[in-house]
Symmetry: C2
């Protein structure tokens, strides 16, 4: 056997896959990953020293679910916790199977995980305003009969919310489960779909703590009818959420005021950033309801590299949208640093 | 639609599944889950307060893999980290597919995860000494051509190591990947299979920190040829190991002396526990190389309930092995408490 070539062991559908590459690059200002720039719980983290490391974590994450249930005015058995919402996407596709349908461009994991699981997946282009192309999506729903539809709203990487009525039209027509991924909902003026869950039994909502200050913990959750949650729970690993993350998330969620004030600061900075970008010649930002702004420019990749040389990491989205970069909203200081570097890099001011 | 009944959405292979139920029961002495009774790092846990919670964890878990590689004298790219070895079992079956073959009784997750993924799985009974039945296993290898074979050694719940030559015979004959699950290897006098990995390219080893004091963290790892690791890495979620667990595991592994002294104490207590159990009429313990002892008795379930009433939680394994209970080795005090309660419950002393 040719040592090192293991593809003959691997399922055919997996062979040509590449592992997801999370970009790692040293930088002064990290604005590429849609994290929060605010670091919570620096002081209270020492409470974690009370956790017995030798014991398995609570498999039901009961305290955490109870806290989330109270916040969202739903029941704990309408919540399923995941090791990040990534893991829940895995479980959803394992439980319900494909075809998996989603608009494109969107969060890459829907396609990546579908492929890992060997399930058919279909990407339908968004319309020119980055909203759902209702005609094309409904035609695809009818044709492919997807077991799962993923709608990221606010959408990553475009930043906009999809129209509520278009989302609900998909939910009504789909015979499968429609998952509204609200990773960025806290930054949006839209109230989101949690209050509508009881009216649309085949709809589910994904949320995460990763964008509001807790990316390190890997805590995501699925919200939906308890029957839906029960099905997905059948394929969940019993100890998928470690004890430290459970405890830290619980501490974090209890301090609603801190989370709210950070979210508000980011939304406000997003407004300022948009105006600054919009005023720069050759830079075309798209309106955003998320903690990032997508903008297009002449030669995005060259600009991306220039920014790196200034110590600023943003995300080059040119693979999905022609000549587009995505910048995460940072602290006011980080944003100023970015704006100055951008002005310097583009070599012009209005 | 009948709200609450979601099984029509679910893949046929998932419908009749039940979620894994990790038993949760208040008790004074918890000896059911094969955790370590020793709680590490109580003091150094406050180092975690230095971790920026708002940032995504290192997707490559580089420091952790470097440390493990050094300890095991292998290369970092021969290691894949998992959110517990459970998650790695998921990834192995996703990447290589079924049929999945294993002896029974063994760790239940091989079967549970195969079923969740809709893959065929075959359990071949162990021989009367709880060792691999070479004839039957090789016949199954020939007949079913498994893509994956799982061999837990020391085996859970029987506690014994399988004969090395029988394991290697399976490895030699199998056309697929053979995974030796060494979750309990640190408690064994056997050196394990890591030193043999380079000679058997279709063999891989699973290890975990869950039994040596760090169950709360959910850290497992797969060891094997870098080509094998590369294939499984294709289906790994990029941020599957949260930052707190990475940091705590790193601290923990650096203190090799503490781990070693706890492992030694547990192995020594296992010897004493075995002698105590063996001397009790009606209690038949099986020799163990793990951090637990399986024993059979007349009416295991009644004894299980009596022990609970004494505040002691063990694991009732009667579903897998007739009238058998599994007791995790605790601290000397916990073990004494268990022995006394057992004597009282069985109502007889020699």
């Amino acid at each position: 056997m040719n040592k090192g070539d293991y593809s003959k062991y691997t399922k055919r559908s997996i062979r040509s896959l590449q592992p997801y590459q999370a970009k790692e690059m040293p930088c002064k200002v990290k604005l590429d990953a849609n994290e929060s720039p605010y670091r919570p719980l620096e002081e209270t983290m020492d409470k974690l020293s009370g956790i017995p490391l030798n014991r398995y974590p609570d498999p039901g994450a009961k305290e955490l679910r109870k806290t989330i249930a109270r916040d969202l005015k739903i029941a704990p058995d309408e919540i399923l916790m995941g090791n990040g919402s990534d893991e829940l996407i895995y479980y959803l596709i394992i439980a319900f199977g494909g075809p998996v349908l989603f608009p494109v461009p969107t969060f890459s994991m829907y396609g990546i995980i579908s492929r890992a699981l060997g399930e058919e997946h279909i990407g339908i282009p968004l319309d020119k305003d980055f909203d759902i192309d209702t005609g094309k999506m409904l035609a695809a729903v009818k044709k492919h009969k997807p077991k799962l539809v993923f709608l990221s709203s606010p959408n990553n990487p475009t930043g906009n919310c999809f129209s509520s009525d278009r989302i609900l039209k998909i939910v009504e027509q789909a015979k499968g489960i429609v998952v509204v991924d609200e990773a960025y909902q806290p930054f949006s003026s839209d109230k989101g779909f949690v209050p509508l869950l009881k009216d649309y039994p085949n709809m589910a909502v994904l949320r995460t703590l990763s964008k509001i200050g807790f990316a390190a913990l890997r805590v995501g959750f699925l919200l939906g009818d308890k029957g839906l949650v029960r099905e997905v729970n059948k394929v969940r690993l019993p100890f998928n959420l470690n004890a430290l993350s459970q405890a830290a998330a619980l501490e974090g969620l209890r301090d609603r005021r801190a989370i709210q004030s950070h979210v508000k600061a980011i939304a406000s900075e997003r407004g300022r950033m948009f105006r600054e970008l919009d005023a720069m010649p050759g830079i075309n930002p798209y309106p955003s309801e998320a903690n990032f702004i997508l903008f297009s420019t002449d030669n995005a990749h060259a600009l991306y590299l220039k920014l790196i040389r200034s110590g600023i990491l943003v995300r080059d989205m040119s693979g999905a949208i022609r000549n587009a970069l995505r910048v995460t909203i940072g602290t006011p200081e980080q944003n100023n640093f970015f704006i100055e570097a951008l002005k310097k890099a583009t070599g012009r001011k209005k």
